[in-house]
Amino acid sequence: MLLEGKNLSFKYPKGDLIFKDVNISIKSGEIVGLIGRSGCGKSTLAKVLAGYERPVEGQVLLDGKEIPHSGYNPIQLIYQHPEKSINPRWRMKNVLEESGSMDHRILEAMGIERDWLSRYSRELSGGELQRFSVARALNDRTRFIIADEISTMLDAITQAQIWNVILDYGRKRNLGLLVITHNLHLAQRICTRIINFERMDRNGE
């Protein structure tokens, strides 16, 4: 499959243009690193590609078609701060079940312990929570994963654990990955190619 952003420009209603004429494409099986200064618009691009923000110009296409607006989103966006993307009033079991799947092998590989499932998000640490937001995105219907600084807040061991699970799952299901990170070591370790957002060729990559 192919995820394409074509001539994307974006701005918030009262703001300035955040980026203009961005072209990006990710094939299934590819792991693309996206680097660039903070504030240059990487996270906004992630939201546009995942369909959470509409570009003011250009379009996002999945195999040449628009992304479906209802139902399960085949492009799963994982954020830096899990505490902001998990419903604080739900037990973790419900958080996982929202995406429909609970593959126990994934939970185990992710190091999610059984008794965490009955807790609320405030009763878990950031590293523990992030495993849940990754686990719920690893679903049969997922085709692309956009990981926006997902391991910045984690210690090295948890970072390695989460990424190894994602990479392993991604290989088996032939997923495409967009990895936004400031950690060059990480990008060089896992990515098949790396794009610098500020030096991107705006007229076709």
Partner: protein
Amino acid sequence: MMYMPLLEVNNMSISFKMYEKGLRQHDMNAISNISLDVDRGEIVAIVGSSGSGKSLFAHGIMGILPKNATMEGEIIFDGEKLTKKRQKSLRGRRISLVPQSISYLDPLMRIGRQVQGPNRDDKSKRKLKESFKRYNLCKNSERLYPFQLSGGMARRAMVSIVDQEDSDLIIADEPTPGLDLDLAMKTLRYFREFADRGKAVILITHDIDLALNVADRIAIFYAGTIVEVAPVEDFHRGIDFLKHPYTKALFNALPQNEFKPFKGNQPYGGIIGKGCLFAPRCNMMDEGCKEDIPIIYLEGKMVRCKNVT
């Protein structure tokens, strides 16, 4: 005269009173028996995963623990015992904290005033202006309230706190997330300068890469204990120079090394018993690990593991 480091923490333990059911209480140990010293001219980095007690240790030194916490052990600052009274008079003056998150700011006070601290004279106003400029904070940001700042701006404002007073000891609690690499490195260089001017710095971070860039010694925290304190060179020289199995696991997990995860999870405070807390995850575990673990001193470093020689 006996040699004395600027800050010496001996056997610090912190526990919390927690309510179980109704009015029944129990104590939860959050950190136990931590000893660490920091001297003028050096940066000691505290590295550990979230929940390992790094911030609590800092709050213990500052004397800003919540009311339901009890602290034991002894802190000596500049040759004198750091009592509660002394903590109160020194904090924000000779000892400064760069707090971890924006939630430590007073939401109802303009940011300039908070950073400036209790002094209102012209000299400190000038200092404030200079340091805001240094951190690329625009002139009118002084007048803003915390909710009006972006995450990065708030972070820079908090880091600029250390400019305001001529502190002897700075404790920086995760000062760099939210800063881009340039600014993060700039901040770290600033801490370095600060140490080189004869001050002491404690840098708390979960990011071992960051610590390797700037620190002189690294203290590895695990589940509320220190498992190893080693000079930064040992990390650059390679895994054989690191002693504790957890330190080795951290090193191996870095993407530029093996990128290898490690089985198991850090235990919670409260379920902490006698013996080594890392033992359930450790490949070298044996019966002896359930006993009290001796602290082994090797040249320039300290390890809490009985299997280290």
